[in-house]
Amino acid sequence: MAITQATHGYEELVVDDPREFRVHGSIYTDPRIFEEEMHRIFERTWIYVGHESELPAPGDYKTVLVGRQPLIVSRHEDGRIYALYNRCRHRGAVVCREERGHSNFFRCRYHNWVYANNGALIGMAQASGYPEDLDRSRYSLVPAARLESYRGLLFVNLSYDGPSLAEHLEPVRKYVDYWLGRSPSERIQVILPPHRYEYPGNWKLQAENGFDGYHGNYVHLSWQRVLQLSRESTVEEVQQYRQEGCVRGLRNGHGLLERPGSLNPASSWTARMMHRYPEYAEAMRKRFSDAELVEISARRNIFVFPNLYLFDTHIRVIVPKAVDRTEVQLYVYALEDVPEAINRSRYRGHERFYGPAGFGAPDDIEVFTEMQTGLQATGDPWNLLNRGQHRERVVDGEVIGHTTDEAPQRSFYREWRRVMSQA
């Protein structure tokens, strides 16, 4: 089967067959499809741009790419956060080149047009060249169509059309709440700078992998051997653990991998920390019921469509650069109002597995590059994502599968197909 028209036929590129769900390899390799993803997904859906704790004070800002469009996210004197296109209204130069910082205004270096950090045009060089009654309000930095936050997580949408952030997040919201619940005040503080790695492969390879419970015993056997060396767990124990829990394919393209929660210190990290630090246990018990604590202590890799993961140590942002080039940013965070030692051990645990020199993440990255090469072979151009289709069940709109099944991947690609097929 030859598919030559990248701009048509997304219905055919994701085949939602009840026995053999599959996706066409061109979605990872065709630059025209990548171009359309930038427009149809990244410029029309809710894209994570940062956490409010990154911009604590008025004047704080960071710059981001949404798809390929440069934006500034900035906190104004009024305390509110603004998302502004990083483009001077005069001749189009960026008005900010730094990654992040603190400033009361943004200045275009070409002709000194100056903007407040809510985007308002304050002035320009040799203003007498314009009429005295020039309506400067017409020349503010253009705001993103929509900027909304959910419990500190900031998202922009470059389109006025489509669901609100609350509607978009609704299927995954309770899991985000549980995720925050490991802090007794349900607050996190992003720790800068983020880990950043890149690989020569498509962005969806990382999206598919974060909730994949099938690869761990093979790709991360090396990691399991390190744990065994340090007498933390035997390979057999880790492999048993990796059979527990479930995957959930959620509506709107979200999904997650879940290990069961427990109040037993031997079985969950949260319970272990509560056992080790009585003041933490007291604060957690004051805030949450036992049933809530069991949910909070479940370890989840939560995916928010299209490119965000919430992990136990970090917020992961997948940044597509080209059809075969991707950057991934891991924003480690502190849990607020927990003993310092808990957060420090989380940072060390994160470094040990993640980042460009961790003992786990580089093995995943290696596989992404192997996939990008293999996907050039088109004898049979289809990738299978049908694992566990025969044994999944639907409960309250969630598709629940065995921990090694591909239910969340199927949710992701159903939403990918829906968004890509929209006019």
């Binding site: 790709v219 990691w223 051997r225 390190v226 460009p356 020199a357 990255i365």
Partner: protein
């Protein structure tokens, strides 16, 4: 005391051990309380932030064990490296007998493979400012501290698991 040329000889030997993938011998250069640090931001306290590598001696041993004795994917095929050590400066650390050694390093790295393999076959260059603290132990110089600040330490990196 350590002269600049002695320090340079030490660093060149260390680079050779890494280039020849003699990781056990390399690990043995470190003191029991050693720290090996590859920061993203060298001005930040590594205990309260996250680094590319922030190894104590136990973690360093795990790193070498992972590279040499586990079925690691990202170093199979293994990296070839060529390291150049230059701009070596030495100053004593007051009252400790330790010597602070600064140098610049250029590391060329490549992993070989078949035709068209993404991530393989293309050499890349890493440039770094390095700082060591060397301590005399039983008449031998040992590494008590090694810091590698990559030129692009705050930028996105492809895998660095070969030991920069």
């Amino acid at each position: 005391m350590l002269t600049a040329s002695e320090a340079e000889r030490f660093l060149i030997q260390e680079a050779r051990l890494l280039d020849e993938r003699r990781f056990d011998e390399w690990e043995a250069l470190f003191t029991d309380d050693a720290v090996y640090w590859v920061p993203m931001d060298p001005d930040r306290d590594p205990t309260d932030s996250v680094s590319i590598i922030y190894d104590d001696r136990k973690r360093l041993h795990e790193r070498v064990y992972r590279l040499t004795r586990t079925p690691v994917l990202d170093q199979n095929p293994p990296s070839r490296t060529v390291r150049i050590v230059a701009n070596v400066e030495v100053e004593p650390v007051d009252g400790t007998g330790e010597q602070r050694v600064r140098c610049n390093q250029l590391i060329a790295e490549m992993r070989p493979g078949g035709p068209g393999q993404a991530g393989l076959n293309s050499p890349r260059w890493l440039a770094a400012r390095c700082e060591y603290r060397l301590r005399p132990v039983d008449g031998q110089w040992r590494i008590a501290f090694k810091k590698v600040v990559l030129l692009d330490s705050d930028q996105a990196q492809y895998n660095l698991s070969f030991i920069p």
